[in-house]
Amino acid sequence: MSIKEYRDMQKRCSSCNFCKWIPFDKVKSARFAENCPAQAYYQYNAYSARGRFQLGLCLVNDELKPEGETQKVIQSCLSCGACDVACKICRYNLEPYEHNLELKREVVKAGNELPVQTKMAESLKEEHTMLIGRKMADRDAWARGLSLTDARAESCDVLFFPGCQYAYERPEEARKAVRVLQRAGVKVGYLFDQDACCGGRMHQMGLQDSFEKAASANIAIWENVQAGCIVTPCGDCYHALKRRYAQLGQKKPVLHLTELLDQLIKEGRLTFTKRIEKTVTYHDPCHLGRLGEAYEPWNGHEKKIRSQIVTWEPRRPRYNGVHGVYDAPRDILKAIPGITLVEMERIREYSFCCGAGGGCRDVDPELSKWTAGERMEEARATGADVLVTACPWCVKNLSEAHSGMEVTDVLTLVCEALEEGE
């Protein structure tokens, strides 16, 4: 699509401002009621989904150019999708999340991508990772010494897709993940020198060509892999694989590591041996939660019924966060002896972003840092000892908020309770 194809949607935004708040039925306090980090931090209307619809219409009308402050506003979107859930409480014919992404693509089309984005794209192309400075040659170092199935040549139960964060920055955790799965009798496969970045952040930043090239290359490799499913421990990768790759034709089932671990625990294939006496709160990663819904193919068109009711023919899939991954990580935490789970005010489909989404750690570090601090304040308000999450990007960004509160991931607690690696 192009931004021009969003004209009707831009004009149909009712300026109701629901996009600035969590769904009102879920408001538990005045303090934690807002949902959009960019809007809450920068405050001007333009930063909200509603403002972005107005901004987008100005682009279509050639009243604004995707440069300067306009570009800054566009690129401040964390692509967390919170506005999308809130909007769809009452609207069935607006897609603010997709529109926000289209605005980012518009910036790139105009040749205004940021230097840091260019470097990330170059790194993706040359080194198959968006982590600048990391080398493809080192990508599978984490896997050395593990008895992994070589998925390039053999069939396996699951193809393990660690993602760049686990491959390069959390190698020990990646190794633990594999060992835990193997302990449960899962035959884990890996692609070694053919494992590469999912490219999802390129998509989130509007660099669609770079994303599609990375995705197509991965999909082509996976076509020759004999695996029951693809498993990733990363929320960002999960969204890319589950939703975006599926749009490009990828057909293998995709699971997040927490989904598989939850299944293995419930089947009795993993039994915890150690108590962990901690009160924890769980942070829903945006791309695992509300953006973790599976892609459903649709080919149709808008159709008005009863004169002016805007609908679709055929019935169009509706993404509003309902079917994301929320229960599996919580069920795992509840199954660990000694752990008490307490919830934050903004959870599940109306969770607040960690600040790492949409490439904002690199594009708008000030906003990213503030967002993490805001989330950690909410976590501290629960009285929990530890914030637990299920995405390495969330772990990284929230840890760097230096809140004084421990931040970890579900896998780490699972390993501790299994006494894995100790």
């Binding site: 004009k11 769904p23 405050q43 001007y44 333009a46 004169s307 002016q308």
Partner: protein, 556 residues
């Protein structure tokens, strides 16, 4: 027209560089598209003027300094909170826009049942905090995304809570107001340093002057703090919800009941409404789901309460005989919530309700008695958190054919009005075909029992110029029809005398011509005097209508 560099620098000094902008992306996103819902104005194919700057003040003192600066340089200004309606936007090319969202503090005084708040404390926030103290706040039909300060001090409106908690403008206890001339006025007891308990004294009372019935629409300065009356909330300190988005439902507490009442005739409806009011049995009452239209509401209720359904399911649902029967049953309906302060209170209210229903021949809708439906009804009415289903069909709606008078008068005319709208729906494709009757609103208004705050929703597509123009034709016609049939001004065009069709404010000359010789001429002359006193440089818009007392048409 760029703002004088001197002025811009001074604005930066006052609020800090971060909180003032004149970048086009910010100016453009503070314009109201009048093809959209602009609150009883239009629809017109225009946008309100571009402000010269957007300023986000952080305190009353900063607001005062900004206003004084505007007076010094004769620059217009308009403050707004949630920017929901055209009234909140500037009306000329030499104005700045104040966005009040940095001022969002609030406090609850449990003992005195008062909430004190700044402009951007929205209703959802205040209610969530008030519930922790066993209290709740009145929320207008505009929903909980709106500012209570705005509806209390600068505007008006009823909602489901009006019948038990009053209109927000009735609940104003005190206000801190930066007048358009830069002076700060503290109304009522606040002005004597006695706190917020009364808007009418013990020092001086200017509540009627500063807000009147309609409110000043932000034209006479900036209200920076208000106190509003809170009402008892006999429910839990937090109302948990269940279910998947968007069909969240709230577990109905044991001491609550939620019903959809079906009346056999409009006369029975009128008698029922007055009896509900007289017997003080209703906690929340609104004809709500009829906003979807008489022919569509049962199907729409099924869609909005089921997360797996969507608008594409409407047609097959409408063909379902069961849905058709339910629609027919709810032809003349209203939603109510009863709250028992004690077990005896609840039992008495239930008994009274049953007796009233028997007396007028009404009954409770069977469809709406299931747990899911009563839970949804409560979740909807308690905070109007799904209020923007107003826009569900195509993104735009306008309310017209307002009924705020005696319900027995309304009852006599209701089907005539329904037939008029249905005729337009059937003969044209300008707005959604919903069965004519899309009337909804509160059970009472100013004046107490026997009055309503009804309006008929017209659902149109703001992106489709054919739909916009056709809706406008209908909106042009209904005031004429109402006048011919002995009714007052049509709500749908009530703000057409506040802002011109091109999105700009009126000139005084234009207002003089509009109001001279009209039934409201004396009021407009009075307001002219008030404006000269408090806003001598005429720096607001023209939602505060005025007529120059010296104006004579012959002078033109």
């Amino acid at each position: 027209m760029a703002l004088d560099r001197n002025v811009y620098a001074k604005l930066q000094e006052i609020v800090g560089e971060r909180w003032v902008s004149e970048d086009p992306v910010h100016l453009e996103t503070y314009r109201c598209a009048s093809v959209q819902t602009a609150s009883h104005y239009g629809p017109y194919d225009n946008r309100t003027p571009v402000p010269q700057a957007v300023v986000l003040p952080g305190s009353t003192e900063e607001v005062q300094q900004v206003v004084r600066l505007c007076n010094e340089y004769k620059i217009g200004f308009k403050a707004s909170t949630t920017f929901w309606a055209a009234a909140g936007y500037v009306g000329d090319d030499n104005s700045i826009q104040l966005d009040m969202r940095r001022m969002n503090k609030w406090e609850i005084d449990e003992k005195n049942q008062i909430a004190v708040m700044e402009p951007y404390a929205i209703a959802a926030q205040i209610q969530a905090e008030a519930m922790k103290h066993g209290l709740s706040c009145a929320i207008t039909g505009a929903g909980c995304s709106t500012s209570i300060l705005a509806s209390t001090a600068g505007w008006n409106g009823g909602g489901p809570s009006t019948i038990s908690m009053g209109n927000n403008h009735d609940n104003l206890l005190g206000a801190e107001w930066v007048l358009a001339n830069g002076e700060i006025v503290r109304l009522g007891s606040l002005g004597s340093g006695s706190g917020w308990f009364s808007g009418e004294g013990p020092v001086f009372s200017a509540r009627a002057v500063l807000r009147g019935g309609q409110g000043m629409g932000g034209d006479m300065g900036v209200c920076t703090r208000i106190a509003t009356k809170l009402s008892p909330w006999p429910g839990p300190d937090h109302l948990p919800t269940y279910g998947d988005a968007p069909a969240y439902k709230a577990d109905l507490p044991d001491n609550f009941r939620a019903y959809t009442i079906c009346f056999p005739s409009w006369d029975a409806w009128a008698r029922g409404y007055t009896a509900f009011y007289d017997n003080e049995i209703i906690y929340l009452g609104h004809r709500q789901f009829n906003m979807f239209g008489r022919d569509l509401k049962a199907a729409m209720i099924k869609i909005i309460t089921d997360p797996d359904k969507q608008l594409a399911d409407l047609n097959w649902l409408l063909e379902d005989p069961e849905t058709q029967r339910q629609n027919a049953d709810m032809k003349i309906d209203t939603q109510i919530v009863i709250a028992g302060m004690t077990e005896r209170d609840l039992a008495w209210k239930e008994a009274a309700l049953d007796e009233i229903l028997a007396d007028v021949g009404a009954h409770k809708s069977e469809m709406m008695l299931t747990k899911e439906m009563v839970d949804y009804t409560l979740a909807y009415l308690i905070r109007m958190g799904h209020k923007n289903l107003n826009y569900v069909y195509a993104g735009s709606y306008e309310g017209n054919m307002a009924w705020s008078s005696n319900v027995f008068v309304d009852a006599e005319w209701m089907e005539t009005v329904v037939a008029l709208k249905k005729k337009w729906e059937d003969e044209h494709d300008y707005f959604a075909r919903v069965g004519g009757d899309s009337g909804l609103g509160s059970m009472t208004r100013a004046g107490g029992g026997g009055s309503t705050g009804f309006e008929f929703f017209i659902h149109y597509d703001g992106s489709d110029i054919h739909s916009v123009k056709g809706t406008r034709k209908y909106m042009d016609y209904t005031p004429i029809w109402m006048k011919e049939h002995g009714f007052g001004q049509d709500l749908g065009r009530v703000n057409d005398t506040a802002r011109r069709e091109d999105g700009y404010s009126y000139t005084q000359e234009e207002h003089n011509k509009l109001f001279y010789g009209t039934p409201s001429a004396h009021l407009m002359k009075y307001q002219w005097k008030m404006r000269e006193m408090m806003n001598p440089n005429h720096l607001g818009g023209t939602y505060y209508r005025t007529l120059d007392p010296d104006y004579r048409p012959d002078a033109d």
